[in-house]
Symmetry: C2
Subunit: 745 residues, 2 copies
Amino acid sequence: MKKLYLLLFAALFCIAAAQPIKDYTGFKEASAIKQRGLEGRYDSLIKAADIDEYLKHLSAHPHHLGSANDRANADYILQKFRSWGYEARIDTFYALFPTPKFRLLEEISPNTFKAGLAEPALKEDLTSSQTAEQLPTYNCYSADGDVTGELVYVNQGAPADYDDLERMGVDVKGKIIIARYGGSWRGIKPRLGQEHGAIGCIIYSDPKDDGYYQGDVYPKGPYRNENGVQRGSVMDIPLYPGDPLTPGYADTEHAKRLDRKDVTNLLKIPVLPISYQDAKPFLAGLSGQVVPERWKGALPFTYHVGPGPVKAHLKLQFNWDVKPVYDVIATLKGSEYPDEWVIRGNHYDAWVNGADDPISGQAAMLNEAQAIGQLAKEGMRPKRTIVYCAWDGEEEGLLGSTEWVEANATELQQKAVAYINTDATARGFMYAGGSHTLQKLVNEVATDVQDPEMNISILDRAKARQVIDAKPKEQKEMLSSSEYKIDALGSGSDFSPFLQHVGIAALDIAFGGEGNGGEYHSIYDSYDMFKRFKDPGFQYEVVIAKTAGRVTLRMANADVLPFNFQDFYSMINGYATEMMKNMEEMRTTTEVNNQLVKEKYYTRSSDPTITYVAPTAKDVVPYLDFSALQNALAALKTSAAQFESLSVGAEQLPETTIHQLNILLYQSERKLLMETGLPDRGWYKQGIYAPGYYQGYGVKTLPAVREAIENRKWQLAQQQSGLTAKMLLAYSKQIDAAAELLKKK
Amino acid sequence: MKKLYLLLFAALFCIAAAQPIKDYTGFKEASAIKQRGLEGRYDSLIKAADIDEYLKHLSAHPHHLGSANDRANADYILQKFRSWGYEARIDTFYALFPTPKFRLLEEISPNTFKAGLAEPALKEDLTSSQTAEQLPTYNCYSADGDVTGELVYVNQGAPADYDDLERMGVDVKGKIIIARYGGSWRGIKPRLGQEHGAIGCIIYSDPKDDGYYQGDVYPKGPYRNENGVQRGSVMDIPLYPGDPLTPGYADTEHAKRLDRKDVTNLLKIPVLPISYQDAKPFLAGLSGQVVPERWKGALPFTYHVGPGPVKAHLKLQFNWDVKPVYDVIATLKGSEYPDEWVIRGNHYDAWVNGADDPISGQAAMLNEAQAIGQLAKEGMRPKRTIVYCAWDGEEEGLLGSTEWVEANATELQQKAVAYINTDATARGFMYAGGSHTLQKLVNEVATDVQDPEMNISILDRAKARQVIDAKPKEQKEMLSSSEYKIDALGSGSDFSPFLQHVGIAALDIAFGGEGNGGEYHSIYDSYDMFKRFKDPGFQYEVVIAKTAGRVTLRMANADVLPFNFQDFYSMINGYATEMMKNMEEMRTTTEVNNQLVKEKYYTRSSDPTITYVAPTAKDVVPYLDFSALQNALAALKTSAAQFESLSVGAEQLPETTIHQLNILLYQSERKLLMETGLPDRGWYKQGIYAPGYYQGYGVKTLPAVREAIENRKWQLAQQQSGLTAKMLLAYSKQIDAAAELLKKK
């Protein structure tokens, strides 16, 4: 077989060599030619049938953290890696993982109704009948509780919704709140409810958001049917992810653990997710004011806020077990720089069968690892070490990745070049987020991968999507730029500890937009569903393997690591400008608000027969001194430009200089860590990207300053602006040090 | 009784005289003092109990055009006016008025279903059981027809919806369309369908728009229940209103009438309005693409566009009768200027019982006329003649008012000072629209009327509503202005022929915003409904009588008519600026669109498994020469400012000069008529305000130019810009002539 491969490779090589070499930033011409050949061979090894096999196998049974199927999947993955030539092992951690012991939700007055709390099997969905193996519908890290109270509908339970509640004169104190999914991350809903005095929380899936309002429901179409329930974690991840009992350090078998009552990122109230079939009687029975327009869902009745008259009884008890977390770690040692690690990961644990979330990403990653293993066997071993990570316990709060990062922090900070993440994926367009130093790399890779539905690159399709989705005002400017802009990353998958806790450049890549549905975290996220609706031909499974694999291989083989500081400067400067503009707008809206309050406009425009509590005056927005931040950005601009102009031909530098240079480059990201971390949540150390404290998954850029401004903490904003400037100056200094090396040419 | 009145009057007078006299523009000091006393007495004559009585009587039975109850109401109103001292008569016209002979709507495949087409009686609503007297649910001026075809859902059936249909590759040719109410005037829906080749049209009330999505439904709450149907006219009013058989002239008994087949403002396809209960099976059965976001209603299933597989059969036959239209005209001759007419009107015909539409306005107007008649008896006869008009046949297409205006056009152009309209009204805030020359008057009057719910003026409440409803960006500017801005008027009530056909300054006044519901044009627009939800205490009935009566009395008694040209200039200049800015934006969006087309962005961002027809390139937006319009606006600014500065103390001019001046002032509005009328719809002659040809009721300001631009008819826009400039110059000249008189001081 080997001869045939070599022949094939040579043929590919010849075709490739006929085209001009470009878009291989960081590669010498000879290396680029070699890399192009290697990538051609790589593509030929990615096979829809293999991915289909892995996906089918790994999603054949429910396989949540701590289950026998989860362990079996870990072993399957381990054996696969080993069979492909990887040094593979399982790193085990031990994390707090509550599962339901007792669940009851009922209406006790004025009517009586007991919520079913079950997702029925469907004959069109083979695995949906594996009831005994399925985790019941619940929110992981809900508190135990037995509460009875009047119900209040709180829309999505976000901060703006509590403003509206205040306008309506409705207090959730002593009440059970019912919130719909969406808008903010689910964990924010009970946390904000708890902050406002609620005693319990129900979260339901409104058909507006992922049900019949969006499209036909399962099994006719892909959207959530009346019985579908979204499971999910409600750990306070924006405070810190990972095992709640071991904040900032690894939960190894004998690690010292916090007492559960001392843990800061766990709720004190019970929370339960339900279907809209279960939610209907509760919502339809509410009286009180008709809710504001943006609160309205798609159920066929008038939405009222309450409180009551519906009284609910919610009783939840959990087994508060510590369960093993099995991270499968597979290493392919680099031929030239074994101590430079390109890390590639995707979790494999699921809430139930998880064919899409996360197995679609895991199966493609396995095929990718298989192909790279094969390349090594064929003599194309990567220069740098590639580390494949199949994470466990992601769903509960990034347990596997966080504990692994915490366990290996020192070594990672020395050796990690970048972390490349994937997770659930489907048919459609490439979406990439991550460190903006890697934006150019993403663009170069995406130029070279063909979209399977149209005869163009995935870059052209991704860019088209981005432009068409933009506001009309922004389209004109975007049309004049040839780059696809990658997103900033918040949280919601395993890139977070790498990027935000230890300062490793990270990317997160997915495809989607044409395989939307409502299967998320339900028993219907199944192989049958995936085959019908998410990616019927596994074509985008192949494409994500080609894309993420290429990114991995370019990082692993580049002569000079392809970090681009000008892209980084340009995006960060944009974020800073936008943040300062937002503050100006706050000043104006505060002025207008205060005048509206003073001159009684709010009260006068209200209906006196309906309770209305007018807004009050807000503190005036002061002028802050942003000069340190602005000077730091100016310095960064200069440093990035200098590095860029000096970097032409860097590949020609002596080998030892290149090695020194690369270390400076990939370690530059560490300089983006702020000494004390973010205010009040020091686990998040990176100063550029963090999940918003009130968004959960959604990103806040320049979070230390931005959130202080948004929370009207002016002194803190001033202080954090200085610290962010200091961080950026340290970062510029690192770029300058790299530039010094380039001067040796 | 008279002595008591005088005593009361004297008491009121004393209180009034203690306050400084202001806000009586156009009144000499002595006249203002007298007027204030008169208005105090006037207020005391407005009584909730009287209005309640009139409202209950006039809405006690269904009383549509041509019915015995309609005639009985005309006689009741006539007798009332006479009893209050008016010279009253009935002016009769004879208009085409089709009523249903046969109605059938059914699904014939894949399922069978026959629409009920009935609104059931409710025990909570006394008059809802008067089935024999009720007009069936139908759209007046639908064509006869018997059509069978596949169904296509077209959202609101507006131009933008046909763009979306084109994107989805769906053609309505040979199909029956189903549109939801809202977005544009109902008559636009079948007309556009017909233009696109549809063979029939169904219009239904989606619960999103006035049903349970908005609030609790009748009889629990005020919103439209599952069986409520909105009747209404589908005459092509934006072409011309009034009797379709006599365009531009009165349909007197022996007038020459067009043959029905030669009429341009009648449809050629059948149209039927239905409830959402009847619409459900049709909509739920559609397949094809899931509709765009903004198309989605609130019914509990996925909305698909079709076409089919649902096949509908629609058969409609009408009695195409000519029916008498009874306008009740009541005159109170002016003591000083009998040939200057202040005209005040409200229709009295309804689709069914019409307690709110229009009797709420009619009942208040009657009490107003009663009070003014009483004032005359007490020696406070108005200086100018007041003409009260109770219009018939408004619902079918402003029949009564249009024919009356056409019949009396010459005399009206000589004598009409202004026309003040009301129609349906309810609890809440004042909304006023009309000629901007009267904006100041509206502000002055609204300062003097107290809101019954809050201890402030109706002006303060109206302004608060206006500011709070504005976009945040506009609020700041609005806060620095003390004026309430009146709206520009399109169509939808009887002001249209006065304002837009013969150039009479007009106002339309209503209250609302706190009495919203879904009773519009259904059998549930009843006395019971009104008492529970629209204006329970008749307090706003009292307030509208005080407001509209005051406007009428100020116009009738002012020494110098209170037209303000600076307000007019300021608003018109704003409209022109906005129109030119819109054209600039069209240029940019056209450029962007054409680049998106050329570089295939639309196609590339689409899902190739779903039919998608990309937009095509549009003709480039040229630069037009707006200089004539801009110069005319500059001239108007100068003329208005000169008039304003000279007008101080105008009341002191000799009597004959004042008389000359007033004629110039009230006839100035005639100068806003364009010689040939609007392009392709010459009945609309006024160049400032017109109903949008594709909106129906919604206004287009500077319509001749604006619509040409919107329709990308650049040469026409250029030509109409010149004609509009010419019109404005003639208007400025009239102001200059008035200013000349003022120089005689």
